[in-house]
Every structure is written in C-alpha cells, then in structure tokens.
C-alpha cells in the first residue's frame, strides 16, 4: 500500500522545484510540468521497476521515455528526487554548461535520460524500438512513454501507433497527457483532434482513461490496470485527463503558462499555495 501522505508531500515539493527552476532562468514550461507532477511521482515511486544504477541499456528494468520534452522541469525534479543526480543540480536548469538542458538530452550525460526529446512526435517510435529490443533480449520489463495531446498532431506518431498495433508491441504503455491545451490555445481551437480514444482504438490499441489525472490514487490504480493489460497482443494507451498548471490557481485551465515563467510576485504566490514539504534544493 502506497504511503499517500509521503507521495503528496513529494508532489508539492516537485511543484516547488518546477516553479523555482523556470523562475530562476525566466524561461521553460511550467504549465504542462505542473499538470504531470502526480503522474511522474506515481511512475517513479510506485509503478516502475527500476535498478539503482543508471545504465543507458536499462536491461532488466522498466524504461520511461518523455516524448514532450518541454516538460523537462518535472522530469528533472522527479529524477533528482529519485536519486539519479543531486537535487542541487536543479539550480543549473537551462544555464550554460549544465546537464539540465532546456529539453532533455543524453548529450550531456545526465543520468535518467535515454534519448533527446523536444522536437515533438518522436518518443513513441523510440519507445517501440526499446520495447522490441526488450523482447529480443527476453527482458519482460515494460516501456512507459508520456506524450502530449497537442503533440499527436505530428504525423510520425501515427506511423508509430500503426506499427505498434500491427506488430503486437504489447510491452508498451503510452500515456497521453490530455490537458486540451497547446501553445496557441486549446487543442480544439488550434487543430481539432476529434476523438483521441476512438483514433487509438481504431488503430488497434487497448485504450483506457484515467479521468482524474491529477489524483495520485486514481493514477496508481489506473496505471496498475494498464500494466495488467500488457502482454495481451496489444499496445496500451492511457488517456490521462490532466489540468495544465495544476496546483497553482492562477496557472490552471489555461494555455497561458505553457511556456512562460512566473515573475517574482507570481512565484511567491505560487509557492505560498505549495508550502515546503521535503525541503527546497
């Protein structure tokens, strides 16, 4: 049984990390990062089987790929707080000579990252490749992927989605951060995507919803169900219904904070809504 109090505390601390990272360099993507804080905390603390030492090959452990690399602040925070690198290094986010580049990369050797992402639409393909290698290596662990909903407008995703179903890549769980927002506005406004669930189903995936995508209990129980669906001849898609900017009242339900950092006053306001739990870096 998960210690939800500890997980909730971690979520709040991760929110603080996100806000402080982007505030310091006056750049970065807080909205999507905040919306996925609970998902990342659940994934790294309750769902993935992970080895202590990071290796690029990641044999005999579950793997995670972030396709929408712009939500790097939440990825970096959770990686640091999961022991991949010192939390103090969050201080270097987006600074010159940092391993914490604006978008995640293997290029600077940051533990926890297995492929660069940022240019959108490439993560599902890489995840399929990693999942196929796991099968060839007779490694029964899973590959988890997160992509944005707006990101699904990139055509490469649908090449990958078609491939995974057609070739029974069933050791793969792709979660879609369904917050309905992208830079220029709501996804319905920018390029209506219609029924995402029906699209994945039509392509042959096993699709399920997590309606409360910012609720730890819902995420953990939902993702455990998703895990049970693996190994049955179909790739699994989880539609994670989240709120962009979750946990900071003035950032919620809007695309305005997709790629904008808070100013000093806004940071103070946002942090006051999320008081220190585990300690700032």
């Amino acid at each position: 049984m998960a210690d939800y109090k500890a997980l909730e505390d971690l979520v709040i601390q991760v929110r603080r990390d996100i806000l402080r990272q982007v505030h310091k360099v006056n750049s970065g993507h807080p909205g999507g990062s905040l919306g996925c804080a609970e998902f990342f905390v659940a994934l790294y603390n309750e769902l993935m089987e992970r080895n202590d030492d990071f290796t690029m090959d990641g044999k005999n452990e579950d793997l995670f790929f972030l396709s929408n690399g712009h939500i790097s602040p939440v990825f970096y925070s959770v990686l640091a707080r999961s022991g991949y690198f010192p939390v103090e290094e969050l201080n270097t986010f987006r600074l010159l000579n940092s391993r914490l580049q604006g978008h995640p990369t293997t290029h600077e050797g940051l533990p926890g990252i297995r492929i660069a992402s940022g240019s959108l639409g490439q993560g599902i393909s890489a995840s399929i490749g990693a999942a196929l290698t796991k099968k060839l290596n007779k490694d029964t662990h899973l590959v988890y992927t997160l992509c944005g909903d707006g990101e699904l407008q990139e055509g490469q995703n649908w090449e990958a989605i078609m491939y995974a179903a057609g070739n029974k890549v069933d050791n793969l769980i792709v979660s879609v951060d369904l917050n309905g927002q992208q830079i220029d506005g709501s996804t319905d406004h920018v390029l209506p995507m219609g029924n995402v669930k029906a699209k994945f189903e039509a392509f042959g995936w096993d699709v399920m919803d997590i309606e409360k995508g910012n609720d730890l209990k819902a995420i953990i129980s939902g993702m455990k169900k998703a895990k049970e669906k693996t190994g049955n001849g179909k790739p699994v898609c989880v539609l994670l219904h989240t709120v962009m900017g979750n946990g900071v009242d003035f950032m919620m339900h809007t695309h305005a904070w997709h790629g904008k950092a808070p100013n000093d006053q806004q940071l103070e306001d946002a942090l006051s809504q999320n008081p220190v739990t585990l300690g700032d870096y």
């Binding site: 990369t105 492929i115 490749g129 290596n137 090449e159 078609m162």
Partner: protein, 317 residues
C-alpha cells in the same frame, strides 16, 4: 601505373545486402529495419535467415529512424534500409534529434543515391544527402565505390560505435577493389601515384577517376588518385600530403558541389595548404529521368569530364 581490373559489373547495393547477410551470421546484435524496399536494398537474405531480427516498418521512414534509435537501448545495432532520399531529407529531424544528438549507434544505409538511380527522376535522385549528413555533429559519412568495398564497409561499421551514414547506389558498376580488403573508416585509399595532379574521388566516380588517369597518363600527365570512401571524418593527412606533391586537385562525386566532398576538401586545403581546385559534381541542380549513363554524361560526371578538369586545374598552378 597500377592496373585495376573490373572483375564483373555488380551493384553496390548488393554489396550492402551480402555484407548484411554475413553480419547476420556473425553478430547476433545486428538488426535490420526496412521501409518497404527490401528487394531494392537486397535485404531479402537477412530477412529470410533472421526473421526475428528483421523489422518491416512499411512506408513510414520517420518511425523507422525513431525505432532504430530506440532499439540501440539494450544493445542492438540497427541497420536501416531505404533509398538515400528517404534516408536523409525525409527524416532529417528524426536523425538529428533521435540519432545524432542522442548519440545512438544506428547505421543508416542508403541505396539509390545520386543521378544513377536513373529513370525515376529527380523526386528520387538525391544530390544533397552527403551535405545533410556531414553537417550533423558526430555523424560518420561513407560513400563506397564498388560492390566489394560496400560489402566490406557494411561489415566494418557494425564494429564501430556511433551513428553512420552509408551511401551506395543502384546500377551495376565496375567491381575492382579487393574482395578481402580491410575497410578502415576514415582512411583514404591511394589508387595511383602521380606528380601532376591529385584526383580525389568518392563513390561511383572512383572508377571514372581511374579511367581518367589512364587517359591522362597516355598524354604524359600523371595523377595521384585517391579513393575517399569516408567523407567524414576526412583523411586530411592523405589529401594534404598528395596536394603538397602535386600542387592542385580535382574532386569528383555524384552529388551537388554544395555540401559534398569537394567542399570538404576545399575547406581543408584553404585552411592548411591552399591550392587550385576543380569540382566534378552537379551544379546546384536537380536531376531528371534518363539512363544512369546518359545522366552522368549530361551532368558531366565521368572520366572525360575529369580529364577536362585536370587540364583546367593544372593550368592554374
């Protein structure tokens, strides 16, 4: 003057296919991906021998490159196969981010490069791919000259850690390099020794350079002929050593003069040993339909054109 014998015309893509077949037997980590051109890339034998290690991705090159990048995670060595145009321009960002920037051990194997693809025309004849690939940090770029060399290169790149672009062609061409050659990435091959001019050639133009050297020799002009199979990293030492001796250079390639081997040689010489240079390459143009021979003739990519360029460049010394 050394004599080179064509042991029977063969296509370089078959060298790739046969190299891959051999790799399949000796390296269990080698996997192959193809975007609906298995026959054209001569990957059938690998597919038959190792169905579990062959991945038909369909007409979806972007996904193929991304999958290949992902397959390296866990130790596989993916070889992707499609035409050069669809191996590079179509998937540039996928190669840039998921392969090159991510430092993945993917071998991008590209057939039907250049004009000699022939009748399909300009939509399929890429003349910009060497430039696209050599501009990517960390990418090794290889353009082999015949069947034997392509087979040897295919086998050699499996043992090399890092992303590689291997470029070869469609038509049957002279097969003249040794079947048992030791292919060394980044190492130029000196084919003829001369003192009047250096001819640096890659790919299908290497045989034409040898033919040109024969004609030149009959006219009393001796040429260093250097086969640059690896355009990046460029064997600077071999080129500079030769040009120091001859004082001028002709570069020859089945590619646009912008971004190709010629430009790499020009950059090298301009910074280290300036010398007159002539470029045998396409002149910032698209190709068109025609037979390979007709096209190479029309666009000035053959022995006769190299001879003319040598006359021009030696006059500029």
């Amino acid at each position: 003057m050394k004599k080179y014998t064509d042991t029977g015309k063969k296509d370089t893509r078959s060298g790739f296919g046969d190299g891959l077949t051999e790799l399949g037997k000796k390296n269990k980590d080698v996997v192959a991906l193809c975007a609906d051109l298995t026959g054209s890339l001569k990957m059938d034998e690998f597919k038959e021998n190792h169905p579990e290690r062959f991945f038909q991705v369909g007409i979806a090159e972007a996904n193929m490159i991304g999958m290949a990048a992902g397959m390296t995670i866990g130790g596989k060595i993916p070889f992707t196969g499609t035409f050069a145009n669809f191996s590079t321009g179509r998937v540039y960002d996928q190669i840039r981010q998921s392969v090159a920037y991510s430092g993945k051990n993917v071998k991008i194997c590209a057939s039907h490069a250049g004009l000699t693809l022939g009748e399909d025309g300009a939509t399929h004849q890429i003349l910009e791919d060497i430039g696209l690939m050599k501009m990517l940090p960390g990418m090794t770029v290889i353009n082999t000259c015949d069947y034997n060399q392509t087979k040897a290169a295919t086998i050699a790149i499996a043992d090399f850690e890092g992303p590689v672009y291997l470029r070869f062609g469609r038509p049957k061409v002279a097969n003249f390099t040794p079947a048992d050659q030791n292919f060394q990435i980044g190492k130029a091959v000196q084919l003829q020794e001369g003192t009047d001019v250096t001819i640096v050639a890659t790919g299908h133009l290497v045989w034409e350079a040898l033919e040109a050297a024969k004609t030149l020799n009959e006219n009393g002009v001796t040429a260093d002929v250097i086969n640059i199979h690896t355009i990046k990293p460029l064997d600077a030492e071999a080129i500079i050593k030769s040009v120091k001796k001859t004082g001028c250079v002709v570069t020859a390639e089945e590619h646009n003069f912008l971004g190709g081997l010629g430009e790499s040689v020009a950059r090298l010489l301009s910074t280290q040993h300036p010398a007159p240079q002539e470029f045998i390459a396409t002149q910032d143009t698209f190709g068109e339909s025609g037979t390979p021979e007709q096209l190479m003739d029309k666009y000035g990519l053959n022995a006769a054109a190299i001879v003319n360029a040598v006359t021009k460049v030696t006059a500029r010394k």
